[in-house]
Symmetry: C2
Subunit: 431 residues, 2 copies
Amino acid sequence: MPKILLEEKEIPTHYYNIAADLPFKIDPPLNPQTKQPIGPNDLARIFPMELIKQEVGLDRYVPIPEEVRNAYMLYRPTPLIRARRLELLLDTPAKIYYKNESVSPVGSHKLNTALAQAYYNKQEGVKRLATETGAGQWGSALSFACNLFGLECMVYMVKISFQQKPYRKILMQLFNGKIAASPSELTDYGRRVLKDDPENSGSLGIAISEAIEDAVNHEGTKYALGSVLNHVLLHQTIIGLEAKKQMENAGDYPDIVIGCHGGGSNFAGVSFPFLADKLSGKKKSLRAIAVEPTACASLTQGKYAYDFGDSAHMTPLMKMKTLGADFMPEKIHAGGLRYHGASPIVSALYENKIIEARALESQEALEAGVMFAKNQGIVPAPESTFAIKAAIDEALKCKAEGKSKTILFNLSGHGHFDMQAYADLMQYLPK
Amino acid sequence: MPKILLEEKEIPTHYYNIAADLPFKIDPPLNPQTKQPIGPNDLARIFPMELIKQEVGLDRYVPIPEEVRNAYMLYRPTPLIRARRLELLLDTPAKIYYKNESVSPVGSHKLNTALAQAYYNKQEGVKRLATETGAGQWGSALSFACNLFGLECMVYMVKISFQQKPYRKILMQLFNGKIAASPSELTDYGRRVLKDDPENSGSLGIAISEAIEDAVNHEGTKYALGSVLNHVLLHQTIIGLEAKKQMENAGDYPDIVIGCHGGGSNFAGVSFPFLADKLSGKKKSLRAIAVEPTACASLTQGKYAYDFGDSAHMTPLMKMKTLGADFMPEKIHAGGLRYHGASPIVSALYENKIIEARALESQEALEAGVMFAKNQGIVPAPESTFAIKAAIDEALKCKAEGKSKTILFNLSGHGHFDMQAYADLMQYLPK
């Protein structure tokens, strides 16, 4: 029985806030000028108060508003799948489960926080949200969420993706999103970048700077971020909370939890509710593995230091694993993993050796994605293939060691708008 | 509670064969030379015996092999959704349900019969299947199914789609399908067409002829068709059988069942299990509506006559609603609905006034698709938008008449590989 489903009434009623359970203190974000911890008022220009409260809150459980739960019902609870065919193919004694977030309307887990953010902004009278998007998953999610809650959505899309992914653009437009290729002529920062380099193909860091500037300069507009921040990770814990209930229904519990890692929200979403049991001492041996590309390996290769979240240095300084705010990663297909930093909480968990991290090459990940697509019938997002490859590696290790372990990974999204990645890959594969 | 789920063990154990319940005889397929009814041996060159038996069988229920049910578990049972948000948006007293076949690995209901056909061929020692594909849904489905059961798959893809849908091609290749643009140099018929017209952009009729020729001329190869034939419709009844159980669990029963109509398998799949109740007299007032494009309106505009299923006149003659085997439909985006004929059973049901048919313009259907995407978060396949539009029209009629009816339609697939249809449409929509 490979599919473990939940009823809609079993959609969690609360998010899980790992901050309540951390055995160490997270260094606070600092004002770049004063180097003093920033307060709620510093953030109020770009975020609604309820999200700022969540950003700094220490309550273990945060209630999910009824309107957001109702919106979640469009696609949640998502299925938990026991990948028996994959276990057979690998001939492994390991049990492999994956949480299938690809069934979300826009194709990934990003909608989990987009809906919450759009809702809280709407509640506080915000009319319009500005944001950035790299691969396009986050921009699609926020466009859809804004449309659902009656907000306008302005998306600064990294120019190279804007050019290479016309259908992601169409998807956002279908959901009423307004899109600009970043760097754009719409912001001071964009114009400055273009003046220095008219051919600049953009980066997530630049797009973030443009979106923040847009929010600051437009009446009724706030900014929304798709990863990194505490409140974003908080919303994504709905993934792990559902998975925990589903594993319980299956009479199982993971030895290893795996998520791909860009800014950290996908990894946090699937792993934090399980890490709660590790932190409480109930499941001391639990391993959680964040999987990142070698091309942008903030956890395994970055420094642990205060750094900016964007290229224009407009954000507060955050203590995180970082490759440097000006780091320009190679153009791998997994655009969602091309971020120079890691969320402060994930960074601290890694530094404190509570979680593990692993860097993989893009091609080996995509090849695992092809194997998965043939076996499970789901073409994974290039980002998700990193989690798939790590899960397969762990399953093969079980085989080599003759051990049966239970592996859970998050299938963060489908790759229907990323087929070029597979087209490029197939040129390298044996015919 | 908009989502009505079933457990995997509730996947139907049998297909429903409407032939057992028809109050009239279906005219048999004829040998084009002799004009005599064809026998099983005439079909044995291109189909395995088990499918030929299903083609002519009269048992009400046909068991689904365990291996096929196991493969169905990759995505079945599919959800039945009560589209409450859509009801609210339309402000209608009608209840709108849809069966969501878009969750299938390849993105449509086509996999339901692809898995069964691949399995039966494999059982009888076939090594390779040849087929045609228009929009690409069927070719993707058969590629995936063949790969799962260890067969080779050769797909003749209508040239215009081959050129305009590179990502559908990549998807088929990902599943190990071999693809040729049709008309191709691989068959006598393809070469003949190209000689007459080197720029010929292909049609479903031509591609069918090429695939049949391929199957006849290659050792160990059989042919597979994605619609029209009785056994294909039979396999698709799994949609309606599940939906019936789900409606029952929801304490409801449809007054109107709607499916888009190309060759007939999608419409048959959702409606036949309900039509069983109409034919038995249990639900006399049930209405079933097949929705076709005005550009290719075989049911509402075609003649009821014996005709060929393909352009090269290689198939048996079938009694059906047809626009003529040489009819070349306009290039609408709903490529899956561009077939000159209709399945013999659906044709006979229409002629006997047991079902209704309706023709819609492409643009009005796609506009309904945009409304649906914003409201439900699923971008529908262009084909499916015809069913959506008809369902919305019926719901608005309920509103005008102040009547509450229960409407069920089949969402046959998603449009992630058809975004160009929406891109083209958006040029016409008000900004």
